[in-house]
């Protein structure tokens, strides 16, 4: 188990380094190939050459790409000092640099926005796991029944509906039309009920989409598992049906679900861009979207890193859980 863990941790670390390199290349090399100097993105196109040169000096944008990456790495763990233009700026670890647009440090922005996205993703995940998996299992057990067909039609519709459409639709119906819920995001420190009310629609819409996907996958996996020999063996041993399903079938059914959950949760925690845009939630996704339209490279870099980290950590957790559920994984 320990060897397995070490291997997984090592792979995750390598992955993170690769992602940082790729992100750097995308944001600092591609613009250069396209003939745009990152320094001009900071100062603006009309700035005089001297100002551009000063920025390039201070941010080290003229250095070779690997040197820049190294400086960035060092900043993350040890802090970083920007020298140039006659002044010295000290940025303590973890230093993600400063926004090109408002010259704010990026780390506080990230810590500010992260909880919103985390709450959105976790709340929705609880909902979709409960309803999606339950619907899938029931459909598989009552295959061909009215419930099965109804649930699968709803699930198929669910996976075909984009979240930004169901989101707007639910806003128009429940918030504007019926007036049940307030569409406004309220920080949790201000009012818990206000926050809960504001998050309810985003949670439900996001969970609906994922519950539809999970119901389809759960049903398919469950059907396959129920046809296995060991289920017949379990029945032949005289086990009661709830035990056969709950203890024997569910265990195999949950493994692929868990893999999906890790990937989906990781991706969502890193920024549920579409949901946040639709409901105007001040999370990471909105931050990165704004940064992209502003060409604010350091912010994009910071959010991308957090996102990748979330995906990798989520996958790591899943891998470990996997090893707990399925002993074969440990030995492989």
């Amino acid at each position: 188990m320990l060897a397995y863990l070490t291997r997984r941790l090592f792979a995750a670390a390598v992955m993170l380094v690769v992602i940082i390199l790729v992100v750097f290349c995308i944001f600092f090399l591609v613009p250069r190939w396209a003939g745009v100097d990152p320094a001009t993105m900071f100062v603006g196109k009309q700035a005089d050459p001297a100002a551009i040169e000063a920025v390039r000096q201070k941010l080290g944008l003229g250095d070779p790409i690997l040197a820049q990456v190294w400086e960035f790495f060092k900043g993350l763990f040890a802090g970083r000092t920007y020298v140039g233009g006659g002044d010295v700026t000290q940025c303590s670890a973890p230093c993600f640099g400063y926004s090109f647009r408002n010259e704010q440090a990026i780390w506080p922005v990230l810590t500010d926005r992260f909880p919103v996205t985390l709450a959105l993703a976790l709340g929705a995940a609880v909902l979709w796991l409960i309803f999606g998996v339950a619907a899938g299992v029931l459909s598989a057990l009552k295959r061909g029944s009215l419930w099965d067909r109804g649930a699968m039609v709803v699930a198929l519709a669910g996976v075909s509906l984009p979240i930004y459409f169901t989101g707007l639709l639910s806003l128009a119906i429940f918030s504007y039309g019926l007036g049940w819920l307030d569409a406004q995001y309220v920080p949790i420190e201000e009012s818990f009920t206000g926050w809960f009310g504001g998050m309810l629609l985003p949670w439900i819409t996001l969970a609906f989409l994922y519950a539809a996907m999970y119901a389809r996958i759960t049903r398919a996996t469950m059907l396959e598992v129920m046809g296995e020999d060991y289920i017949r063996t379990a029945r032949a041993k005289g086990l009661r049906e709830p035990v056969v399903i709950g203890k024997h079938a569910m265990r195999s059914t949950m493994t692929p679900i868990l893999t999906m959950l890790g990937m989906d949760l990781g991706a969502l925690i890193g920024g549920a861009i579409l949901t946040e845009t639709t409901f105007s939630l001040p999370g990471l996704g909105q931050a990165v979207l704004k940064a992209i339209s502003d060409k604010d490279l350091p912010v994009i870099l910071g959010v991308t890193l957090i996102t990748s980290l979330a995906v990798i950590v989520a996958n790591l957790v899943v891998d470990i859980l996997y090893a707990v559920i399925d002993p074969r994984v440990r030995l492989a």
Binding site: M15, V18, I19, I26, F27, V30, P31, A34, G35, V36, L156, A157, V159, S160, L161, P162, Y164, F165, L168, L169, L171, A172, Y176, R219, A220, L223, E224, M263, G266, A267, G270, G271, I273, L274, T277, T278, V288, L289, I292, S293, K295, I300, V303, T304, T307, S308, A310, V311, I312, N315
Partner: protein
């Protein structure tokens, strides 16, 4: 039982041999003269297909069997018909809009309420002239924009799926067949890409691209970049499946047989292995297209994809955010267009999967 009949050995050795001698035979080459051992399975298949009962047992190709299955799947056929209709709409967009006398980019400010900048009249300004109403502010005809939007959706959906399938197939086959370090590298890259926060990277890549490139400008560049980037992030899904299939197929006897007859590596790859990979590739392609259409709509919704005045469904939804309370029709119409399109592709894709993979759940 079905698997054992169609994939391995007999047909392949026979077909492969005849092809080596220069006789044309394709993947759908009928299975002639089933051996005594294979005959009962073939008969079962025939009964399953609901025809040929009592007649002499006739061999059928995988393609034929799949088609027979698909033909009985009403939902899948409905999806297929809708997909064909959408393709026709996209191809004939200028003809259709001419027919109703509208244009996707002409402004009709006289139809807009100057106070709220929403269309005059009920239901988003639906009238005999404007079948689906007009847009808020500009008064552009929604019907014409929906029709033209189909072009963008389908173009990106199909072409990016093509990019993904070509890349995924070639790299997957290479990884599976040659193994060793090549497999290690390709597999790691696939793992990495699958673990990437894809939407974020797609948005970022599309947004750092310049406005002019390779002789294309504006919408052209955006479409080109979107197709490439969406396709690039899609190939590992195909690649993984193709690699797995190749791994198991390369050990089969018919590959051995071809090798012993002196066939070269690339002959085996493309003539012996690839035809057997066609089924999973088709399944993944049909499932990938709706996902790509959704991604394109999402990008345009987020403002990094196709930009106005060019019409795209995602972009229409994004501008509808500001009017969901005052002009809900403007939000519903592009949303329903996306929904119908994606649903049709999903229905058809599910049908194709069930038809080609009988072991799959039904």
């Amino acid at each position: 039982m079905y698997d054992a009949l169609v994939t391995p050995l007999q047909r392949q050795v026979g077909a492969g041999y005849s092809r080596l001698r220069g006789v044309a035979a394709t993947m759908t080459a009928p299975l002639h003269e089933p051996t005594a051992e294979a005959a009962p399975s073939a008969a079962e298949e025939a009964v399953l297909a609901g025809s040929a009962e009592g007649k002499a047992v006739q061999g059928r190709s995988l393609g034929r069997i799949a088609w027979e299955r698909l033909k009985r799947d009403k939902l899948a056929l409905t999806g297929g018909v809708v997909v064909l209709a959408l393709i026709a709409i996209a191809l004939l967009a200028p003809v259709i809009t001419n027919l109703v006398g509208q244009d996707p980019e002409t402004h009709h400010e006289d139809l807009i309420d100057p106070l709220f900048s929403t269309p005059k009249g009920a239901w988003g300004g639906i009238s005999a002239d404007h079948l689906l109403g007009v847009e808020p502010v500009s008064g552009r005809d929604v019907f014409a924009r929906i029709v033209y939007g189909a072009r963008i959706s389908l173009l990106v959906g199909f072409l990016s799926a093509l990019v993904a399938v070509v890349l995924g197939t070639v790299l997957g086959v290479l990884a599976g067949y040659f193994g060793g370090w090549l497999d290690a590298v390709i597999s790691r890259v696939m793992d990495g890409l699958l673990a990437f926060p894809q939407l974020l990277f797609i948005i970022a890549l599309v947004s750092v691209m310049p406005n002019e490139m390779l002789g294309l400008t504006g919408t052209g560049v955006r479409l080109f970049v979107m197709i490439l980037v969406i396709g690039f992030f899609g190939w590992p899904y195909v690649g993984r499946v193709v690699r797995g299939q190749t791994l198991s197929l390369r050990e089969r006897e018919y590959v051995e047989a071809a090798r012993s007859l002196g066939a070269g590596r690339f002959y085996i790859l493309f003539k012996e292995l690839l035809p057997n990979l066609v089924a999973p590739i088709i399944v993944y392609t049909t499932m990938m297209i709706p996902t790509n259409i959704l991604t394109e709509a999402a990008l345009s919704f987020l403002g990094v994809g196709v930009k106005p005045p060019t019409a795209s469904w995602g972009q229409m939804l994004s501008s509808a955010i500001d009017y969901y309370d005052s002009d809900p029709m403007y939000m519903v119409i592009p949303g329903v267009a996306i929904f119908i399109t994606v649903l049709a592709f999903n229905l058809f894709g599910d049908g194709v999967r069930d038809a080609l993979d009988p072991k799959g759940s039904r």
